[in-house]
Assembly symmetry: C2
Homo-oligomer: 191 residues x 2
């Protein structure tokens, strides 16, 4: 990779759960179990899945990503949102105020949430060292170009910088399909 | 609209049928019937739908666009292709050589096709007068920018110029969802 090239990770629909919600859905004292690690250090895809429902439809098995977080957050594509019949806003991860409602069903219980469903805003995780090398600051808005016949330039790609991040751009399945990008492909920051 | 702004039409999955295939699916001598006109003069959404199947899944009611054409052609998004379990190439409309197989089922019969399923390459229809005004030639590759928080620049947008076209950019649902565009929104040709 040359200087401004970054690997792209395609995020399929997934959910983060609070420990309180883990226990409502899976039983008192239940702990999520790791199936495989993700690109970001300490994050993993759990063996557990949960059913997510909206007024129009259901996804029976949405993958849970661990570890448990302070807030429950569903991340879906706009295509998925039409299936469920909800209208989630495009938001940064962690910012669920005013996001869309959903119902979660697990083996031990169910939860009706008034908010928690978002379409995740496209973003790049930068380790602090990568950000320094590339001249990028936390919360910068970047333009990123993908190549090929179906190439696009994604605007307003949010930079997120932390010592705990590994360099990776995250887009959802609509964005990946629109650009004919596969997980692990390379894109380039153009400004 | 200023000079280089164009309306965007979002194409949901649909199919064009040859008259021969209309008659296999709906019966001898059958003629498609118009439900509503499309943006391109003479083109219409038909009242008729057809079931489209692949190795992994089925869409029970895919809208037929009329009038009948010389070749049967299914146009779906990449997201749709995963549901069917086929791998259609990104192609210009009319270029179905080497495209993906599919099975069609209608009230009077069914057809197994070895090719015909494509992901339509993003394109703009220009009336000859619009093309002249904008300095665009048939088959030019353009870059088109959408606005807003989820803005993108689509590259390799194919110009199609004809006296029988009305000015309209056509993208599929993946592209629309990736850019948070709705039918009738405006985009801008940047070069």
């Amino acid at each position: 990779m040359t200087n401004r090239q970054i690997p792209v990770g395609v995020s399929a629909r997934h959910i983060h759960l609070s420990q309180q919600h883990v226990e409502i859905l899976f039983g008192e004292g239940y702990q999520l179990t790791e199936m495989k690690p993700l690109s970001q250090p300490g994050q993993y895809a759990a063996n557990e899945t949960v059913q997510v429902s909206g007024p129009k439809g259901t996804f029976p098995k949405v993958r849970i990503l661990g570890p448990a977080r302070s807030q429950t957050q569903l991340e879906i594509s706009k295509t998925d949102s039409f299936v469920l019949g909800i209208k989630p806003p495009v938001k940064e991860s962690g910012d669920i105020a005013g996001s869309a409602p959903m119902k979660l069903t697990g083996p031990a219980g169910e939860i009706e949430l008034q908010e928690g469903a978002i379409i995740a805003a496209r973003h790049i995780h930068f380790h602090t060292d990568d950000a320094k090398r590339l001249g990028v600051k936390d919360k910068d808005r970047l333009r990123v170009r993908t190549g090929g016949e179906r190439g696009v330039v994604f605007e307003n790609v949010i930079a997120r910088v932390s010592d705990s991040f590994a360099l990776d751009m995250h887009i959802d399945t609509d964005e990946a399909n629109a650009a004919a990008i596969n997980n692990g492909d390379i894109a380039e920051i153009i400004d």
